[in-house]
């Protein structure tokens, strides 16, 4: 069994443990390559089906192609698709593109706050009607007690501290220095009322592993990841105003894998094109403690 297969089997095991232990389970789908691999692994774990909702936090600034791709796959794979956003902040134009707040505040309002309140059911949730292809207000406001997230430990310092099953308090806090132990194939599947658990099946995967798996399984990905002829491509996807492409002529999955292996990108961090990481010394860490993904 090769290494990618080992990663796959462990991730499936984690997904099935999550499904068995959490009644209100959801999976975050950012449309990016990692969470799309995660979605694929869920289909693997449950034999072609995804027996829990996919949750997408729509900042309204995502690159339009991402949204089209999301709804196309959701219809094709019969996903229970739930979208949430911070409608109040958008109405009041408290966003970076509107020029009213800085990077980190914009991320916090449109992503962290939106996510927290979509998970706990305080904000309106919109569910995709698979018959009409339109989003409708979801009747369920029940909080999710388990949220599956596609973070990887190699992405950035903070994420290397994550557990596979990581508790979040009522205030959504992540207490990094006092996490419960996690060993063998046993995870934190018990939780106090009002708290929720984040589940990270991709923790051991690297960026290269993700692309190798996309190739092996032939997983559909957004075309933004590939050079369309202008010598640039996106390596990490986020909001349009704050995500910039990198210089690369990789036109398909094979060429991306070769690019990653060749070491051409060795000196550039994966999230180099993501503005929020740079705002202060530990920008992403501050965000993560507050519940950012």
């Amino acid at each position: 069994m090769d290494y990618i297969e080992q990663l796959e089997n462990k991730s499936i095991y984690i997904l099935r443990e999550a499904y068995a232990n959490f009644k209100n389970l959801g999976m975050l789908w950012s449309i990016g390559k990692d969470s799309t691999v995660l979605l694929w692994l869920a289909r693997k774990a449950f034999f072609g089906h995804v027996p829990f909702p996919l949750v997408h936090i729509d900042t309204s600034f995502k690159i339009p192609e991402m949204i089209r791709y999301r709804d196309r796959l959701a219809m094709k794979w019969k996903l229970t698709m739930i979208c949430g956003q911070n409608e109040e902040a958008l109405e009041k134009k408290q966003t970076l593109p509107d020029g009213n707040v800085d990077h980190l505040t914009c991320c916090r309002l449109l992503k962290t706050v939106a996510l927290e309140n979509t998970v706990n059911g305080k904000f309106k949730r919109y569910r995709l009607n698979l018959k009409t292809g339109k989003y409708e207000v979801d009747r369920s406001t029940e909080p999710f007690t388990g949220v599956i997230v596609g973070v990887r430990s190699d992405e950035e310092g903070t994420r290397s501290k994550e557990r596979y099953f990581s508790a979040r308090s009522k205030q959504n806090d992540w207490d990094i220095s006092n996490q419960p132990p996690e060993f063998w194939n046993q995870f934190k599947t018990d939780f106090a009322p009002g708290t929720h658990v984040r589940i990270h099946p991709l923790l051991d995967w690297t960026e290269l592993n993700i692309w190798e798996y996309i190739k092996r399984e032939n997983i559909p990905t957004v075309s933004l990841y590939y050079d369309q002829g202008d010598g640039t491509r996106y390596r990490s996807l986020g909001c349009a105003p704050c995500t910039s492409p990198i210089k690369s002529t990789a036109k398909n999955v094979d060429e991306i894998i070769e690019e990653l292996r060749s070491g051409k990108l060795k000196n550039i961090a994966e999230r180099d094109g993501r503005a929020q990481d740079k705002e202060d010394g530990g920008g992403l860490e501050t965000l993560r403690k507050d519940g950012y993904m």
């Binding site: 090769d2 297969e5 034999f47 430990s153 501290k161 990094i176 063998w184 018990d190």
Partner: protein, 607 residues
Amino acid sequence: MLIEKENNREQMNIVIAGHVDHGKSTIIGRLLADTNSLPEGKLKQVKKTCEINSKPFEYAFLLDALKDEQSQGITIDSARVFFKTKARDYIIIDAPGHIEFLKNMVTGASRAESALLVIDANEGVQENSRRHGYMIAMLGIKQIAVLVNKMDLIDYDSTKYQKIVDEYTKFLKNIDITPTTFIPVNGKNGDNVASLSKKMDWYSGKTVLDILDDFQKEKSLIDKPFRMPIQGVYKFTNYGDDRRIISGLIETGQIAIGDEIAFYPSGKRSTINSIEEFNTPKQKSAKAGKSIGFTLNEQIFITRGEVATKSSERKPKITSRILVNFFWMDKEPFVKNKEYHLKIGAVKVAVKLEKIKKIIDASNLDLNIKKEQIERHDVAQCILKLNRAIAFDLTDEIATMSRFVIIDNYEIRGGGIIRDALEDKQAWVRNYVMLRNFKWEKSMIQPGRRAEKYNQKSALILLTGKRDSDKKIVAKELETKLFEDGKIVYFLGIGNVLYGVDADIKTKKRNTNKNRQEHIRRLAEVAHILLDSGVILIVTAIDLTQDDLEIIKAIVSQEKIKTIWIGDNVTTDIVLDDQIYKDEKPKNAAEKIKKSLQEMGIIFKPW
């Protein structure tokens, strides 16, 4: 071509452990730098941080990616970093050396296949050198290299080095561990890390990198008996899929279509009809390490928590009493007479500490401390009593099938390995049950379909109490009430069984303990049949004890049983779900029980 080669590169997880400040992080920084494995951004970032804080750059800082850590100056969690050698790729798990963070050390170490244990040459063997050595062995890591670090502080002296080697070897021998090798190093300058040091020409061994490359990947688990803890039985009818798929990760061994599978602890059997995966060609067989599913030829009722085995291979152990090696990590000690939960494979079961055999305390090396409780950071050998029997293997036979954790107040607080399966009082009952399940003629109707049709789940309501209490009156009221509600319900007094089913048990000897147990066993078997037919069964019996209930639980699954004491004074040790007091009118009592059946989801609450 290049791609092909890269794909076959081997990967190994290693953990670096040891006492606080003995230089683990420096060793890691060195390994990363000397194998050219550092992303440039990282080095720059750390150097810049040093500049800002006007500190000289150290290799150790490379790992301290977190602000929290840098302010405390200690590694607080098991960070993961990567490096490459010619032989393979490594993932280093840096385990914090501070005693406060033992749970992080355990988290990291449990993911490793081999270990480097770092000891400061100047400080010598310390508390956590010993503790980490023990924990790493207990977690199942067999390849251990001990690095005696900071050799510069003892002037690269071979005699002083040998003293540490001897002392630590002696300690490890006490707890049955033989380290793979010892290496004298100086992390700061890289002596004996990537290249042999000129300063220690007396050392004839290999460098740290060479030793790492010599470590072997864990041997395949395919040759062991087939074991697959059932994570779930899926039937996605809502998605138009009628397959009933039994799913899990194969821990050891292999299976093929047509194999007869025995599930434990129930002892139920059937043969494999198909092996199921998504987006792969149809497989005829599957082996250890794969997350799979399979369908069966006969529709037996199986739930999460059973262990799938092959009936042609060695059986797992099945009991509710286990001898374990156990470590505890919570501030509150692990004590007797308190209920905890044990998780092993996909099973979660209530557990109590029965007896402490011995406690090993790494801080004072005494192997025979007499204690009545297991305190934080203690390692103990003890007997645990589970609320019901589970299926497992002993650590010497199949290590992964012997590993468990203990939960208290929502968190994992301890863990251990099972050394021995001890006999419990219900072993003889279970043997009958397994044989009965094995021989059972299977119906085509699943319990779920029956429940749907009858609009109720089957259940066993045990009404017990003193001789003259109103048990039978309440039972008959309840039967009538449920019957009139349209439920399929049946009342069975133990007397109805005694003179027919039990006619061969001599009346005069009826009160001897052995006879009583057999009466209870037969009553429970009758109950099992009635419950299998979908009925809500009400049973009355005088003075049921906890031992009686344990026998019944070995036959009828626990979540289907409700125990109620009728009367004011409970005169036995039975653990009750409910009590009906004397001043309660039988009609009201019946109404109360009906309500609790609704709460349990046995019958529906009307809208």
